[in-house]
Amino acid sequence: MGSSSALFIAVFLACVVEAVEATTIVLAAGTARDWRSATSGMAGALAVLAIIVAALGPAVSALPLRGLRLVVGALLLVFGLQWLRKAILRASGHKALHDEEKIFAQQLAAASAQARRQAGLVPDWYGFTLSFKGVLLEGLEVVFIVLTFGANQHDIGLAAIAGAAAVVVVAGAGVAVRSPLSRVPENSLKFIVGIMLTAFGAFWGAEGAGAHWPGSDAALLALIPAIAAFALALVTVMRRSPGGSGRQQAAVAAAATAGERS
């Protein structure tokens, strides 16, 4: 696997996660309120995102590479570590798993409780703004990932294809099933994306700060599995710690055994 493949996979998976979350919001807005307002909100947000890409794309590409790598590396490292932290806490039982169906139900209930109000050509303003904000916020993350990954690896085209492919696949699945994409293994995806963001962040951050990796770009191919192995080891340790799922299962098993004996 070359660094281009790593770039494609990292961008695609990160964008799938963001797209699943945006799709859940649009589906909730459409189901609970009004499909025309929800799709108008989504289209409005996509138009704003297109303007942002058109404005920022050339600007990001024109920045000096070392400065870009330092800033983007720092941000990706912070994002990646936060994702990885949440993913490890979830995998070890210290935090509830991300449940797209539950989030959909909560958003559906919140959206159903609001009064209907027409604004101009939009039949339902609440449904429009709910969909607009959801797609814009999640879309901003997609734009950030595509532009920064693409600019840093001198391949915005490949990053854009990966991001667009993710959005098309997820949006297509959302339209086809018209229900939250709960079958997407979002918790596992977030774990993998956390590893990728952390690895790319460490690689670019160190280069931006003036360090030189042994083996140049090939160092990424060692960093990714090393961080994955470390994260999996931390899951094992955290499962055994107080409050972890390993301890809980052991306690349940011990209680069951004690119950059988008594």
């Binding site: 720092a74 912070v78 932290r85 806490l89 160190a206 360090a211 160092a219």
Partner: protein, 67 residues
């Protein structure tokens, strides 16, 4: 107006810093140390992976303790 500025600041704090400020502070310090080391003849690439190996378990411990 003040409420909007506060909400704007809170959005960016949540977006960039997230749940644990220690991670963001640790990353900035590690990058500064990497820069300082890169000005010498000593290789500096190992510093960030070392920082990750320390920051992630500490942040996890803080997260599990908070629960």
């Amino acid at each position: 107006m003040v409420r909007r500025i506060k909400a704007f600041g809170a959005f960016w704090y949540d977006f960039v810093i997230g749940d644990d400020w220690l991670v963001a502070a640790g990353v900035v310090i590690a990058l500064a140390l990497t820069y300082a080391l890169s000005r010498t003849t000593v290789p500096a690439w190992w510093l960030l992976p070392l920082a990750l190996a320390v920051l992630l378990p500490v942040s996890l411990w803080r997260g599990a303790r908070k629960r």
